[in-house]
């Protein structure tokens, strides 16, 4: 039996419990094993990270990708904002994304003579998250005191678009040029549905609350990501847009770095990567008949991931997120909104959450994303009183623990989950690089 892969370590953060309180990782429990993704899908391409070369491979590939990018409009006396988002820092420990950001800075300075290069780091719903990453990766020092986190409640700027006025974060755009530094990891397929995935941050982590609310409340589940395109295509943004640089990501690691002056060309390439490599993982996970989903990663409940698939997509793995003829996945915010007072969908054709998830074992996951819908509809056991207390104080999760039970430790929680569900199949969402940590019966099924 192959031993489990070392999971991503807990991180000190105001959004999670103290890492010293995470006594046992789920992967350390008896009976756990691992599968490498290459074992499951031998056609997966080689990766540059993780590899023997380490993070220097990211620098080398970023320099290579940027050598084909036209930066001639950036002059030495200009200001440049490199736009980044929290998500990249959650990939493979975060260092590859941090190194790509450092390299972009260095290449711009070298090619253009411009040194007024600032890092702007957008967030999801945890407004200090990227401040934590800036400190962790010493990015403020690297950017000479010019790195800062921005949030959707910060001062805004009105942006005139083809669909009327939308709003961006003023500090995102307070430069002559913006550089879109992101990654191709598909992450929230339930939201963007792989339509303009590369453009999404313009409607999300770079955007104000009005725009994000338009996305999640006003347009509908398959038109939502148009907010991003509308903002990106606006004359205001086009006048400032210099180029994009992306880590290209597959479920087993970083494939390389892609950069382009034309975001839509880059978007087409990353869409193909997303469909090709993540589609098969999601299809495979959709074939799991029953399991305990164990959350064990320094991220909010929805974003913990296994083989590149986030928990929010696993609970909807009974539906094909890539199929646009299906309006609503089993989980997306529009779906959640359409559950009536009796706890059932308002329409009979709205799919229910993946019935294969018999229980959620919440070993270690963060606050800072509304997650009560999950504990309300999936039996949930949370490890440790400290974690329960943290959720009870989070304004986004005040009722999460109303529907969950608490276990003293991970061992007891797993024992409870196995007895109650009657299944020995355990899928661990701990970000294991290059593979999946899971129980042997589930490994046998997936093989």
């Amino acid at each position: 039996m192959r031993p489990p892969i070392t999971p991503i370590a807990p991180r000190p953060s105001q959004y999670g419990i103290d890492p010293s309180l995470v006594k046992t990782r789920v992967a350390e429990l008896p009976g756990m094993t691992s599968l490498t993704l290459r074992e499951l899908f031998p056609d997966l391409p080689s990766v540059i990270f993780p590899s023997d070369e380490g993070v220097s491979a990211v620098r080398r590939h970023t320099e290579q990708a940027l050598s084909n990018v036209d930066m001639s409009r950036i002059k030495p006396d200009h200001k440049v904002n490199i736009l980044s988002s929290h998500h990249g820092f959650t990939l493979l420990g975060g260092e590859p994304y941090a190194e790509m950001l450092r390299t972009i800075r260095d290449v711009i300075e070298e090619k253009t003579g411009c040194s007024n290069i600032r890092l702007r780091a957008g967030v999801g719903l945890r407004f200090r998250e990227t401040e934590e990453y800036i400190r962790r990766y010493k990015l403020d020092e690297y950017f000479k005191g010019k790195a800062r986190g921005v949030a959707p409640v910060d001062e805004g700027v009105a942006i005139e678009t083809e669909i009327g006025t939308l709003y961006g974060i003023k500090r995102i755009y307070d430069a002559d040029w913006i550089v879109h530094a992101h990654n191709s990891d598909v992450r929230e397929v339930h939201f963007h549905r792989m339509v303009d995935r590369a453009v999404k941050p313009f409607g999300m982590s770079y955007a104000r609350i009005e725009t994000r609310s338009t996305y999640h409340q006003n347009l509908g589940p398959r038109a939502a990501n148009f907010t991003a395109r509308a903002i990106f295509d606006s004359p205001y943004v086009q006048d400032k847009f210099a180029f994009s640089c992306f880590l290209t990501v597959a479920p087993h690691g970083i494939l390389g770095v892609d950069a382009d002056n034309n975001l839509y060309s880059l978007n087409d390439r990353v869409t193909e990567i997303g469909c090709r490599y993540y589609g098969k993982m999601m299809t495979l996970f959709g074939e799991i008949d029953e399991c305990i989903a164990a959350l064990d990663f320094p991220c909010p409940v929805v974003y913990v991931f296994s083989a590149g698939v986030i928990y929010a997509n696993f609970v909807a793995a009974n539906t094909d997120l890539f199929d646009l003829s299906m309006p609503l996945p089993a989980y997306t915010w529009y779906t959640e909104a359409f559950y009536g007072r009796k706890g059932r969908p308002l329409l009979p054709d709205i799919p229910l959450l993946n019935p294969a998830v018999k229980m959620c074992l919440h070993s270690y996951a963060w606050i800072g994303y509304p997650s009560a819908f999950f504990s309300e509809h999936i039996p949930t056991v949370v490890v440790g009183q400290a974690q329960a207390d943290l959720f009870n104080r989070d304004p986004q999760n005040l009722t999460y623990m109303k529907h969950a039970v608490i276990s003293e430790n991970t061992e007891a929680a797993m024992d409870f989950a196995r007895k109650v569900t009657g299944t020995d199949k355990v899928l661990i969402f701990d970000g294991a690089p290059g593979g999946i940590n899971l129980s042997k019966p589930l490994a046998d099924l997936l093989r």
Partner: protein, 204 residues
């Protein structure tokens, strides 16, 4: 409905009087006195926006001695009128509008019928928009507009700027131009219309 369990505490030594907390507070519960922030704890809904955006890290969230319940009682109101207002704003009355507090459209409509005139009134009365503070501003503005109310943003504040487009208002030219890119505008409108007109499930 929201049970408020926490409240902000300002460290007067650290506060530099920058007013960021004043500008972001969704219920407009923060003012300035002697160049430091003063919080109206009774009005505060415990969202933590001030704590999360203070550049000086001068605000912490502390547990309240007694939790406070923000909830609009629909007793005595005509539910048909509540439902009518929700549907005029193109929401199902039981549709969840705030994913953090699970506030439904009917509670917001009831707040408006009980006198709410602005997003901060609605947040104060229902607790909505005091969780993540991000995703539910537009439904509030849509419901106020459907009730014939035109709120004005707080001068100098960053709480909200304006109502934006809905699915029903997307220009035909935009639909034609981008429909082939995978944006299902008309199909989503059809879904949203079915939701708006779906039967009520009834009270809890």
């Amino acid at each position: 409905m929201k049970l408020i369990t926490v409240m902000p505490v300002v460290d007067l030594e650290k506060c530099k009087g920058c007013k960021t907390c004043v500008k972001v507070c969704p219920v407009v519960a923060i003012g300035m006195q002697d160049k430091t922030a003063v919080i109206d704890v009774e009005r505060c809904r415990g969202c933590g926006d001030c704590e999360q955006r203070c550049p000086e890290y001068a605000i912490t969230m502390a547990l309240r001695d007694e939790p406070v319940l923000a909830k609009v009682d629909m007793e005595g109101l005509d539910y048909d009128e509540i439902a009518k207002l929700c549907r005029a704003a193109k929401f199902h009355p039981e549709q969840v509008l705030c994913y953090c507090t699970a506030t439904r459209a009917d509670e917001v409509a009831a707040a408006i019928m009980q006198g709410a005139k602005s997003p901060d009134d609605i947040s104060y009365m229902t607790g909505m928009r005091t969780g993540c503070k991000v995703e539910c501003i537009e439904p509030i503005l849509r419901l106020l507009e459907a009730a014939g109310i035109e709120p004005k943003p707080t001068p100098g504040g960053w709480q909200w700027y304006g109502r934006t487009i809905t699915a029903w208002e997307i220009p035909e030219a935009v639909k034609e131009k981008y429909g082939a890119r995978g944006f299902y505008f008309d199909e989503d409108i059809e879904l949203l219309n079915r939701i708006v007109n779906a039967p009520l499930q009834g009270k809890e």
